[in-house]
Amino acid sequence: MKIVKRQVGDVGVISLSGALDSDSAPEIQYRLSQLQPEYECLVIDFAKVTCVSSASLRMLVLIYRQARAAGHTVAVVGLTPEVSNVLDATGFLDFFIVAETVNDGVAMVRQRIEGRLADDHVVASA
């Protein structure tokens, strides 16, 4: 599992790649939680994640909760249809900004921050 961090303007973009399972999730979880305070706006890119387990789904939810507690904005991009479906069925998708590509995600996060979207729970479905 690899984590690559870069910055697009004021938005942090974190790209994950490899298998996201219960073995790698705690480490990823830890590193993300370290990175998270650096950015008020974060886009997490899942496009190169190969294998997804319940542990990694929980991780997504935890990221959301930490971000919400800190008043930060998080977008997730590149979710596979299966992961999207699981998050949709459990209601967690309602909480995220979901976009197809990193560029879309960055744009949506900016839009949110600039207050163009008044509603806290707007979701653009992937």
Binding site: S22, S53, S54, N85, A89, T90, G91
Partner: protein
């Protein structure tokens, strides 16, 4: 120092002993089952006579455990074996218990140390996470307990606490509701699928869904091959609970990820935000372990004689008709049931419970009915359950019939079987039913005089029996597909096929059937008490005469959504009649009406009429009854009038109408020979004094002041 590290540094969050390389310490006796604690997992197991208890730990999905930890005798307090185990990767394990003890000659105990037992308190069970996927018989441990956080974000959701008079209950099956290909949902047959149909429920106007069992069960329990088709007949209904604290994983699109709890909570939260309550059909009268030939899953191997009613010879009493009977008035079992329902009410925000074969819960350990059953008493006054609706199916398979006499502590409602039988007999045209009909329409004061009409859950159909369309399409049940040579299911259905058994091209018969369905719905929704509709009846769903589809996981039992178009007229009728009820509080009031005029509106609260006003014909051959409801029930104190004429005669009758009040006229809300209009759209009758009620038809009128 952060809060979390302070918690982690409790001085009891470190092991005191080592067993098989794992750090452990004496555990806490509560809560029962497995609980996440700082750095570890606490296990607490009750057995009144076990001599040894081990915690058996598996990697997820593995056939063989990676370790078994024998709980030291020193860790037992009373008869609870409790141990905290440290250093477990709780997301990666499944756990069970191995329990040893004496096996006496009379089979009161049935300890079997060759079996790994499921935790009866497990919040998540794996093993049946994909519906209908054939289980591996070589895997010794079948129903595999897992740990969970129970940390769903409810976003401020609370149980709705709807007043009883606002309830319109819709009984449905999670899988059957959206499994049919016509449902058009992303995740057919699941909690998530049901969420997609909430707009339909809202439009229909129901305010409460009652779900057939959603506690984890084994659809392969007693499954068999259909001799004719070669298909496997699964246990579709699910009245054979395996895990009382665990939602059915196979009903979740996310069951493979162990996220069924979150998905079901998402369903509850979504229904609540649509103003719809959730009642669960719960089955505490028996378990999936069957009789002495059945599988040992949990209770039997933990403490057989505590959890089950046993004959003096050690066999299982069978008041449930399914092999065993839960010994629910034993103090330990009572606590189990109460804590289970507290869990569902608090953790899942469930609004109420319908108890399958509830009369069993009135029996003592020998099966003798009790005047003050401790379990019923405990549920009735439980602080956590105080706002939950409690509904009894007040009979059992051992012949105890308590409709009207279920010990209720002013808390319980009942499925009113008398209502069902009387309404069915009236509609098919039986003689001498009118007196009883009047009693049923009034909320069954003969049964519930001390409790009010909210004790009466009125229904004509439920999952168990004919659908409403089949009630008027079949004289006899046709259960051949169940593979029991038509010996299963009720024989006494009070049904009538309207002239031909089963489907027909005869337009007159089909029109009559449709009218009878509408008659049933209109009478149900204008009766005092809590109305309950069976899912699919609003679109004329058929089961082709099968009145017991417990094993039909197929199109026979599933909701066919194309019927919402084929029978759009009926669907609209039902929705309009629900709106009629919603708009007229005089129909929903929860007192039993009598012949006096409590709100001083010039007429009694209820009055009875025939073809001439104020002259009801109660003679045995009479089949027409008019009922006028009247009272100052509207929010602004204005009088609320509804007149319902029910004609079960095969001929039309010209009915002279009672006069509501000076300056008020009758307006047509519904005529089952025609249609119904949405509440508020009723237009005045052409003839203000009379109306021709068609053959086998029901008419509902509302009164309005003359304008202009």
């Amino acid at each position: 120092m952060t809060m979390s590290s302070r918690v982690r540094d409790r001085i009891d969050s470190f092991p005191t002993h080592q067993i098989e390389g794992y750090g452990v310490r004496a555990g806490r006796v509560a809560p029962m089952g497995a609980t996440l604690v700082p750095n570890g997992v606490n296990f607490a197991v009750f057995s009144s006579s076990a001599t040894a208890v081990s915690v058996v730990l598996y990697e997820i999905g593995e056939t063989e455990p990676f370790v078994e930890l024998l709980i030291p005798e020193d860790f037992r307090i009373g008869r609870v074996w409790a141990m905290t185990v440290f250093g477990l990767n709780y997301e990666q394990i499944e756990y069970g218990f191995r329990v040893d003890g004496p096996n006496d000659d009379r089979h009161r105990d049935r300890f079997d140390r060759t079996v790994v037992l499921s935790d009866p308190y497990a919040k998540v069970l794996a093993g049946r996470e994909t519906w209908g996927q054939t289980p591996d018989p070589h895997r010794g441990y079948q129903h595999r307990a897992r740990l969970t956080f129970d940390d769903f974000d409810w976003e401020g959701d609370r149980p709705l606490r709807l007043p009883a008079d606002e309830l319109v209950v819709y009984e449905t099956h999670v899988r059957g509701f959206t499994r049919h290909p016509s449902a058009g949902v992303r995740n057919p047959g699941t909690y998530a699928g049901l969420i997609e149909k909430i707009p339909y429920l809202r439009k229909l106007g129901v305010t409460c869904v009652e779900l057939l069992p959603i506690f984890e069960f084994d659809e392969f329990g007693n499954s068999r091959i259909d001799e004719v088709t070669g298909d496997r007949l699964l246990n579709y209904w699910g009245y054979n609970t395996v895990g009382f604290f665990a939602p059915k994983a196979g009903y979740a699109a996310t069951g493979r990820f162990g996220m069924q709890g979150d998905e079901f909570k998402h369903l509850v939260r979504s229904l609540h935000s649509a103003g719809i309550e959730v009642l669960l059909d719960v089955v505490f009268n028996h378990t999936a372990e069957g009789n002495e030939l059945g599988p040992t899953i949990s209770f039997r191997g933990l403490d057989n004689s505590t959890y089950y009613m046993l004959t003096p010879e050690g066999y299982y009493y069978n008041f449930s008709g399914t092999g065993n009977t839960v010994n629910s008035n034993h103090p330990v079992v009572r606590d189990f049931v109460v804590s289970c329902l507290r869990y569902w009410a608090s953790e899942y925000h469930i609004d109420g419970f319908r108890f399958d074969l509830a009369a069993i819960m009135d029996r003592d350990e020998h099966g003798v009915p009790l005047d003050n059953p401790p379990l019923i008493q405990a549920l009735s006054s439980d602080p956590v359950l105080r706002d939950c609706k409690l509904v009894a199916e007040a009979w059992d398979a051992g012949g105890l019939y308590e409709v009207g006499s279920f010990p209720n502590y002013h808390r319980w409602a009942e499925w009113n079987g008398r209502y069902r039988d009387t309404l069915r007999r009236f509609l098919k045209g039986d003689d001498a039913v009118l007196g009883d009909l009047a009693t049923r329409l009034s909320g069954s004061p003969d049964l519930y005089w001390s409790r009010g009409a909210s004790a009466s859950v009125n229904f004509l159909t439920c999952h168990d029996g004919f659908t409403l369309m089949d009630l008027f399409s079949y004289d006899d049940k046709h259960n051949e597909a169940n593979g029991e040579h038509d010996n299963d299911g009720a024989n006494d259905n009070n049904s009538w096929n309207c002239g031909v058994e089963g489907a027909t091209d005869d337009p007159e018969i089909n029109a009559l059937r449709l009218r009878q369905v509408k008659n049933a719905v209109l009478l149900l929704l204008t009766s005092r008490g809590i109305p309950m509709l069976l899912s699919g009846d609003e679109v004329g769903r058929t089961q082709h005469g099968n009145n017991n589809v417990y094993c039909q996981d197929n199109e026979l039992a599933w909701f066919d959504w194309s019927l919402t178009e084929t029978n759009a007229d009926l669907l609209e009728f039902v929705s309009n009649v629900i709106s009629l009820r919603a708009e007229h509080p005089v129909l929903r009031a929860l007192n039993h009406p009598n012949g006096i005029d409590p709100s001083d509106c010039g007429h009694p609260e209820v009055s009875w009429h025939g073809v001439r006003p104020w002259e009801p014909d109660w003679s045995p051959g009479s089949r027409l009854l008019g009922v006028m409801w009247c009272g100052h029930h509207l929010p602004d104190g204005a009088p609320d009038y509804v007149y319902v004429v029910a004609n079960a005669h095969w001929e039309a009758h010209d009915v002279i109408l009672p006069v509501p009040d000076d300056g008020w006229v009758w307006c047509l809300a519904a005529d089952t020979s025609g249609g119904a209009v949405p509440a508020g759209d009723e237009g005045p009758l052409t003839d203000p004094f009379g109306y021709t009620v068609g053959p086998r038809s029901v008419v509902a009128l509302v009164a309005r002041p003359v304008t202009g």
